[in-house]
Amino acid sequence: MGRVLRWDVLVGALLVAVFAGGSLATPGFATVSNLSFALGDLGEIALIALAMTLLVVAAEVDLSVASVLGLSSALVGALWDAGLAIETIVPLVVLVGAACGLVNGLLVTRLGLPSLAVTIGTLALYRGLAYVVLGDKAVAQFPPQYTALAVDDVPGTFVPYPVALFVLLAVITGVALHATGFGRSLYAIGAQEQAAFFAGIRVKRIKLLLFVLSGTVAAFAGVVFTLRYGSARADNGLGIELAVIAAVLLGGVDFDGGKGTLGGVIAGVLLIGLLRNLLMLNDVSTEIQSVVTGLLLIVSVLTPRLLALVRSRRPVLKGSS
């Protein structure tokens, strides 16, 4: 029964159920334009969730991602206002994102600080810097050929460009996590850091890399976000770190590290996004949506534990079936 009752499989099944139910019962849900939009709307969260999965598997967390996204958006706005070309701006802000991640990583690995505390600090710091850079201004009027990149579908499909990029990165991340020594070392670090260290895994270096990766992806997501909305603001993406973490945990990644699959996370991201879309199409109010997200999150961590409890209390004969 172990395989069938795995949480990420359950989430996947739930996703299929939501999709099927939505297609049957809600007009306008299973249309190309709606799905294309709903997917596009998930783009940034999905991108960041990839890097976050790696971190959480290694028993670390990065709460500063949404602030890096905001800082990146503010920088895009300020630099564009200053007359730089998008082609120059993008690599610059992505580098800044990498630097943000580096700061997180150094504080965690060199000083041995808990990543939760560090990234709560940098969450405030980076968002604060975003405000310092752009203040309360909004910069708009980006050239349509770039904003189109963040909204339009890949020709011939209903897949928006950011989603296509996500698929590409998801495949790379999935392979890296599940089919390489690098991936295995992440699980080892998450399960037992000290054992991993003695087994010769370069724990600190790997963690540092993960934080840099997380910052880089978040900054890139900031660029996508800015172009998608055509509006650069310091408060862009405020609070989406919680949505990202909700998706990762819903996907069955254990917050204590060492467990979880990327497939589960992707199912988690899609489930939250499609469910939200479905609720909105059915005129369910924002408040109920927020209750549903919260309950899903609690259920997602509660169920595996209750299952484990049930399993451990069952007679051995039944349990082994």
Binding site: A124, E287, S290, V292, T293, L297
Partner: protein
């Protein structure tokens, strides 16, 4: 941090304990010094900052944050976290306001607020302690749920100060001998909880749990019950904070204290309570709240671009945890050397 923390909970020798106490009292001292320097510089630039009204404003602004920080630090000391406090304040402020506006008396109103807060705390506590679900996840979930419930109840309505009983508003804005009630209430709770944690054996157990839950369990500490109590206290104080929020601001809509959870945790951490548990005091947490609030006010008075405030808060938090870490490492090294000599 673990080196210093373990020793704080289970002192090996008297001198070691004295040393550790000294270091962490030094933390509160350094907060006071930072605060004094900040106030000094600001007052020099604008004497109005230290006028009666100026001090009163800062105390009033600090009171609610400090109350939440006191509750939060109890949870954090047990190596847990309560992210739902902001939502609880919002819910309680609205529900209590709604009831008071419909004719409830002040006393039942306050009781209701605290009870709602306690219920939220109990829910968190049960999930964390009985179901052993990670605190961050659970309280993130209840943050969403409680916020949703609050918005659902409010439905775009607003509680106006004019609808509230004058007795409640007096609680929020009145004063005794020139000192407003709000900070006095916070002070009372801070002292009571601080005394309990320090002087009672069961209070010390909270620190033991935070230092090493496994060791505490083996030593016979009722871990689950203590963690439950910590959440209950945090919930009750959040409920009380919600009532005080209503009393202070009078006009509330559904999103009071929206996003305050991170501010509260910042105050706690700046105040020297280790997020890894087992270290710190509620006095420090309250001082942390006072420092963060004062920085906010000082920036406005100094006419610094207010956009810097958040960045400074973040930098300060990083500084605080880094300094703590370095200090803890030093203490651990010192202790090791001493125990070798002894």
């Amino acid at each position: 941090m673990t080196g210093g923390a373990n020793t704080a909970a289970l002192p090996r020798t008297r001198s070691a304990r004295g040393l550790v106490d000294l270091v962490f009292r030094a933390r509160e001292l350094s907060l006071v010094i930072a605060l004094a320097a900040l106030v000094g510089v600001t007052a020099a630039a604008n004497p109005n900052f230290l006028s009666g009204q100026g001090i009163e404003d800062i105390l009033l602004n600090t009171a609610i944050l400090a109350l939440l920080a006191v509750g939060q630090s109890m949870v954090v000391i047990t190596r847990n976290l309560d992210l739902s406090v902001g939502s609880v304040v919002g819910l309680v402020a609205f529900v209590t306001g709604d009831m008071l506006a419909s004719g409830w008396g002040v006393v039942p109103g306050v009781a209701l607020g605290v009870a709602v807060g306690a219920a939220c705390g109990l829910l968190n506590g049960l999930l964390v302690s009985l179901c052993r679900v990670p605190a961050l996840v659970v309280t993130l979930g209840t943050l969403y749920v409680i916020q949703g419930v609050c918005h659902y109840i409010a439905h775009g309505r607003q509680i106006n100060a004019a609808d509230l009983p004058p007795g409640l508003l007096a609680l929020g804005n009145g004063a005794v001998l020139g000192v407003p009630y709000l900070p006095l209430i916070t002070l009372a709770f801070m002292l009571a909880i601080g005394y309990y944690l320090r002087a009672y054996p069961s209070g010390r157990e909270f620190y033991a749990i935070g230092s090493s839950p496994e060791a505490a369990r083996l030593a016979g500490v009722p871990v689950r019950r203590r963690v439950l109590v910590a959440y209950l206290v945090s919930g009750c104080l959040a409920g009380l904070a919600g009532v005080l929020w209503l009393a202070r601001f009078g006009t509330v809509i559904a999103d009071s204290a929206n996003g305050w959870e991170l501010l509260v945790i910042s105050a706690v951490v700046v105040g020297g309570v280790a997020i890894t548990g087992g270290v710190g005091s509620v006095y420090g947490a309250a001082l942390g709240a006072l420092l963060l609030t004062t920085i906010g006010s000082a920036l406005v008075v100094l006419r610094v671009n207010p956009f810097w405030q958040q960045a400074i808060t973040g930098a300060l938090l990083l500084l605080a945890i880094s300094v703590d870490r370095v200090l803890a490492l030093r203490v651990a090294r010192l202790l090791r050397r001493r125990s070798r000599h002894g």
